[in-house]
């Protein structure tokens, strides 16, 4: 019981601390949403509008930070994340509902694919150390050292264009209405290809490397030698003995990277004009949209915490040693 309580307390504490930080950080930024809005229009919006905007955004009331903080918690418990300033008066929850699926679909699937591909290649590279696969490592390292946005922009310039198969921006063809029909899904997939490929290229080598190193370490374990001694087919030794054990440390890494999906997509979405949550955050930062920032952070925080929990559980399931005896 104590263990469970400790775990729960730990997660609760982390969530509390992260949410609190998420509350305060945006408020420490100088400037406020109104001046940001005025400045965004660089003269096209008259300075006369300042006052009306303060009233509109409800910033004219001088609530103390502390009471705002309490209100914030009150709102969170009601599932209310406030109204966004950038998209005033759209509720933050609606903005998130609109953008989150895109992020999860694109980055989630690519992270998963990257993990699968990278891990499989890493298994092979580690297993056949010294073969041509090993020669591939510096290449993938190079690819993963390229700044993501740079690769993406290059890809857009070289591959996307009017007559190209790859669209250069957006999540789907303009004019389509999101729905579960073939045209839309096809278009969405087509639009996700280029970003997905670039994410894959720049992230896969990390998995290859860590898996390869684990494989090399595991390959010198006694039980692998024993598996060879048993005359098992090579594939069986590689997959069921070596890879199965080498995978364990990577699992928590994978779970954590799932948590970072939401936070790490900012550049992807900027470069490929992808309608996801990372871009929301970018916009929110630019326009001092605290409610939206907090909302995005809340999503990120929760996803990382959940990913941690998933990692805990996955480890428990995958490694019999952590399971209770009997």
């Amino acid at each position: 019981m104590k263990f469970l309580l400790q775990r729960i307390a730990f997660y609760l504490f982390t969530a509390w601390a992260a949410i609190t930080i998420n509350f305060f950080i945006p408020r420490l930024i100088p400037g406020d949403p109104v001046t940001s809005l005025i400045n965004k229009f660089q003269g096209q919006m008259s300075t006369d509008a300042i006052n009306s905007l303060y009233v509109l955004f409800g910033l004219d009331k001088n609530a103390s930070m502390w009471s705002q903080y309490l209100d914030y918690w009150g709102q969170i418990f009601h599932g209310d994340l406030g109204l966004s300033f950038t998209f005033f008066p759209t509720p933050v929850s609606e903005i998130l509902r609109q953008s989150l699926p895109w992020t999860i679909a694109l980055v989630g699937i690519t992270t998963f694919a990257s993990f699968m591909i990278g891990t499989s290649l890493g298994v092979l590279a580690g297993w056949r150390r010294g073969s041509w696969l090993d020669g591939l490592l510096p290449v993938t390292t190079f690819l993963s050292s390229i700044p993501y946005f740079w690769l993406g922009l290059l890809a857009i310039t070289l591959l996307a264009g009017t007559d190209s198969f790859f669209p250069s921006s957006g999540g789907y063809d303009p004019g389509l209405v999101p729905s579960w029909d073939g045209a839309f899904i096809g278009s969405a997939i087509k639009h996700s290809l280029l970003p997905a490929i670039t994410i894959l290229i720049s992230s896969v080598s990390g998995w290859i490397l860590s898996m390869r190193n684990m494989m090399v370490t595991v390959a010198s374990e006694d039980y692998i030698t024993v598996a060879h001694a048993k005359g098992l087919p090579e594939r069986r030794v590689m997959v069921s003995y070596a890879a199965r054990n080498a995978l364990l440390p990577n699992v928590s890494g994978f779970a954590l990277s799932l948590g970072f999906i939401v936070g790490g997509t900012l550049l992807v979405e900027i470069v490929f004009s992808y309608p996801g949550i990372g871009y929301n955050l970018f916009q929110a930062v630019g326009s001092k949209d605290y409610p939206l920032m907090q909302g995005v952070f809340l999503v990120i925080t929760m996803s990382v915490l959940i990913a941690n929990l998933v990692a805990d559980v996955a480890y428990l399931l995958l490694d019999p040693r952590t399971r209770k005896e009997g």
Binding site: S131, S145, L266, F282, F297, L305
Partner: protein, 350 residues
């Protein structure tokens, strides 16, 4: 690099080696450089460090100086071409190296120092201190680094390279701390730590002298990782126009290239050199990382030779489970290589 001796932290103890066969520490240090990957990485890194120091002096032009050569392709005069203001991109890259290296290394040092401080003390001290410190690092882990950096960087008025380095360093230590804590936890129970305690060493000395040297590999690779992350973050900040650096760095060049839509204009020379420089620097750091791994882990170290040539001229790969036979003796023996059983499965796997 302070690594002198392979820290057998990850691997099991090596079997008793033949006395005298083991090289003294000095030779082992050389072996690190002899590793072709590490040597390449070190060489490139050294080159960039050199440029960071002398770049501003050897730059042919003032990187900000305008000229009448607007958007010129690379030429003898402007090796990397010019910008929309006629500025020399080659000079910008040279001058920009300093900021990148400074921020990368400083942020790496700060983050590494913090992760060691927090990770090791939390792993070693245990109890309430551990709970507190690991909660702290978990909170930092939960907060997404790049957005946090963007926010913090935009909070600080007119921050220079130093500030950016501080911000990146202060926000990116958590992962390292977590890894170090886990490793420290396992080291803390090692016999030699207990033995040091039983000898009467003070806690402080046990941490710094007994445990830390065994974490060298992790610390070093963490450092390399943070430097890469810091460089990327700095460049990203400059690229999306958040950071406040007035100095040139590669990100600033990319920012200008992007805001002037260099690629759409066909001015690839504006975009390519800085990006490649980043990629090469990152690769160099990763190569060093490989080197460190192979240097400290005896298991990876034997990777030098992976192919052997048998006496009758075949090349065989050295691998676990199938020891190569260099020479088959007993040619005189009337031995017929008949296999009693050869199952399909075994054949299939060959």
């Amino acid at each position: 690099m302070t690594a002198q001796v392979p820290a057998t932290t990850i691997t099991a103890v090596t079997p008793e080696g033949p006395v005298g066969a083991a090289a003294p520490a000095k030779r082992r240090r050389l072996r690190f450089v002899a590793n072709p990957k590490a040597a390449t990485g070190l060489f490139i890194l050294g080159f960039f460090c050199l440029i960071a120091i002398i770049g501003p002096w050897i730059a042919p032009f003032d990187p900000s100086a305008r000229s009448s050569d607007l958007i010129q392709a690379p030429s003898g005069k402007h090796w990397f071409g010019t910008t929309h203001l006629g500025q020399d991109i080659f000079s910008q890259v040279l001058v920009g190296t300093r900021g990148v290296m400074f921020v990368g290394l400083l942020a790496g040092i700060i983050a590494t120092a913090l992760s060691v401080l927090i990770g090791v003390s939390s792993g070693f001290l245990g109890g309430a201190a551990d709970e507190g410190l690991s909660a702290l690092s978990n909170v930092f882990l939960v907060i997404p680094a790049l957005p946090l950096i963007i926010i913090v960087a935009s909070t600080i008025p007119s921050a220079g390279d130093l500030m950016v380095a501080l911000v990146i360093g202060l926000t990116s230590w958590a992962w390292g701390a977590r890894v170090l804590r886990a490793q420290t936890l396992s080291l803390r129970r090692r016999d030699y730590v207990e033995a040091a305690r039983a000898t009467g060493e003070s806690t402080w000395r046990i941490i710094t002298v007994e445990i830390l040297p065994n974490l060298t590999a992790i610390i070093a690779s963490g450092f390399v990782g943070t430097v890469i992350f810091a460089v990327m973050s700095e460049i990203t900040l400059a690229f999306i126009g958040i950071s406040t650096i007035s100095e040139w760095n590669w990100g600033t060049i990319l920012f200008w290239a992007q805001s002037q839509q260099a690629l759409a204009q066909g001015a690839w020379w504006w975009f390519v050199p800085a990006g490649l420089a980043i990629a090469i620097l990152g690769t160099a750091l990763s190569l060093i990382n490989f080197g460190i791994d192979e240097f400290v882990s005896p298991r990876l170290r034997s990777s030098g030779h992976t192919r052997v040539r048998t006496k009758d001229g075949h090349t065989v790969r050295m691998r676990v489970g199938f020891t190569p036979v260099l020479q088959q003796n007993g040619k005189n023996d009337p031995v017929t290589p008949v296999v009693r059983k050869s199952t399909d499965e075994a054949k299939g796997a060959a």
